[in-house]
Symmetry: C2
Subunit: 332 residues, 2 copies
């Protein structure tokens, strides 16, 4: 598929992250469930923001983080997602464009503001996310650019999209268009609570529409309601490729009868795990679309994940392409 | 002055920083002068932002950074500055409020948006700042809350204000009100180019209206158009206290015939010098208003400056009060 002008097109909730330090006592006082993503409404977002410490704003959004990572690695990436035409929407668009990502989805001119995710980062580097979807609720099938997806080797969808009927319709249209053009469709399961809300539908999606699946241990065991080894067994045959991350234990990649077990990269200083899964997917998909073997793709995923968790925020701060070039096993 | 409900009230340009990595070649291509602050208009800001890499947004503004640092140390701080009632203005207000800083200046309902400073951080940790003042140009004498300043031990003014007639009038009113209440007035010279633009006026201000002066080596030598040692000599008698920072060489503090030479604190990793002077002033003024001697105040300044240059952004990321408590010389 070397004729593809785009390596990966991501579709997801277009979100600006607001990151602040917090400790477990504060999470408790605010009634937050540590380590997961919870959806909140506009009023809850205002109340929570008022109680949050001084913040740092950084473009986020799971699939957007992934395509930003792919572009940082030198890949050709595109994005579909909905912001409002406001200051945070301009920040989100700028950050993708300046990374070289094609992003042409029209901004909403009216309605709720650009989405934001209030992220509380605890001293153990865990992130607890409260998301106000704002303008993301305006994303629908009309925003799916068929020509764009037909031109992309892989269409990458985030599971977070699977909460509203309009977004589900957009999701299905994207998968249909991509497959009709002979392309592959990837899905990230996104979050264990997200899997719990949509288990039956996600199982059907994975069986019928998904070629490449990304998940972490909590998500995959929740999907199949079983232990890790059994979940891995059940995955076989359902998808062309599955890449399952296990935090400090690295990742396991399956494809047909092949199984690759990849150790995690060393991390000098663990600061903030926001974006770890997104950047693993970035590294993996970059390797995959460049025709690298599964082990190399898994290693690339690990390198990108290690970079993102060494600093605040879910967009790469370092020169990812340089990091990869410096990894000896990957230069051959 | 233990009866003061406020330790330090800062007045300055209320700005949200947009930080991005850049290298010297990019600075050259963009025609930027490294290490200084340059004022740009709305159109220049748009053009430059479009050419800037992916950013990270963080509340900034010189005097605002200083009062945020004082609040983080446990001091009682207030701020006067002008944002617009837009998303970035809300971010700026939130970040001061959540740090415990009193900030009640009315936001502009119309006119230009909240100010932003495009900051290019080079691998040597130097910052090059391009500021679009936006709503800051709305700040005038009516925004100076006389009761607030009369209740503050020290009114702290940033030299950056000294560019527009309305802001100068606000500046003069603030100094007059503070002195009438028997309080002290501090000034930061802000930037060598700022000193160059206003040398004669700054010299007069320093002689007639300023009790406590903050400057770095480039600013103080520009003010007196002489070398460092001679500038220090000339400062004597002009102000009650002068604190001059010298980067990696630490700081020199003068008061009457007393001279304190303070070495710089060690910095594990130099990342971004944005806010170094602002946080030195925070530590120094916190110590000063707590009645600490000059050496302790200078050391506190050095500790806060070392923290801020170890990470991206000009607002403290670490627990400053904890850092100070852990510094053995300061616990007695």
């Amino acid at each position: 598929m070397a004729d593809c002008p785009i390596d990966v097109a991501g579709i997801g909730n277009a979100i600006v992250d607001v990151l602040a330090h917090a400790d477990d006592a504060q999470l408790g006082a605010l009634g937050l469930t540590k380590g997961v993503m919870t959806l909140i409404d506009a009023q809850q977002a205002d109340v929570l923001y008022a109680k949050m410490g001084p913040g740092l704003e950084c473009s986020g959004g799971s699939a957007a983080n992934t395509v930003a990572g792919i572009a940082a690695l030198g890949g050709k990436a595109a994005y579909i997602g909905k912001v409002k035409n406001d200051q945070l929407g301009q920040v989100f668009r700028h950050d993708l464009h300046s990374q070289g990502v094609t992003f042409e989805t029209a901004a909403a001119a009216a309605g709720p503001p650009t989405a934001r995710c209030l992220i509380f980062v605890t001293p153990d580097a865990q992130r607890t996310m409260q998301t106000y979807l704002g303008a993301c609720v305006e994303l629908g099938p009309d925003d799916i650019d068929g020509d764009l997806l037909a031109a992309a080797q892989v269409t990458y969808l985030e599971g977070y999209l699977w909460d509203r009927p309009e977004a589900k319709a957009a999701f299905r249209k994207a998968a249909t268009v991509a497959h009709a053009a002979g392309r592959q469709v990837a899905l990230s399961l996104s979050d264990p609570f997200c899997v719990e809300r949509h288990r039956a539908e996600f199982r059907q999606l994975v069986s019928e529409h998904i070629d490449i699946l990304f998940a972490n241990e909590a998500e995959i065991t929740s999907l199949f309601q079983t232990d890790f080894d059994d979940a891995i067994r059940q995955l076989k045959g359902h998808v062309t490729v599955a890449a399952v991350t296990r935090g400090a234990k690295g990742s396991v990649v399956l494809s047909g009868d092949d199984v690759v077990v990849q150790a995690a990269e060393p991390v000098a200083q663990l600061v903030d795990t926001t974006g770890a899964g997104d950047l693993y997917a970035a590294g993996f998909l970059y390797g995959y679309t460049q025709g690298r073997d599964l082990a190399a793709a898994a290693r690339l995923g690990g390198i990108c994940a290690a970079e993102i968790i060494s600093h605040f925020g879910a967009r790469p701060a370092a020169d990812l392409a340089g990091l990869v070039a410096a990894a000896p096993l990957l230069t051959v």
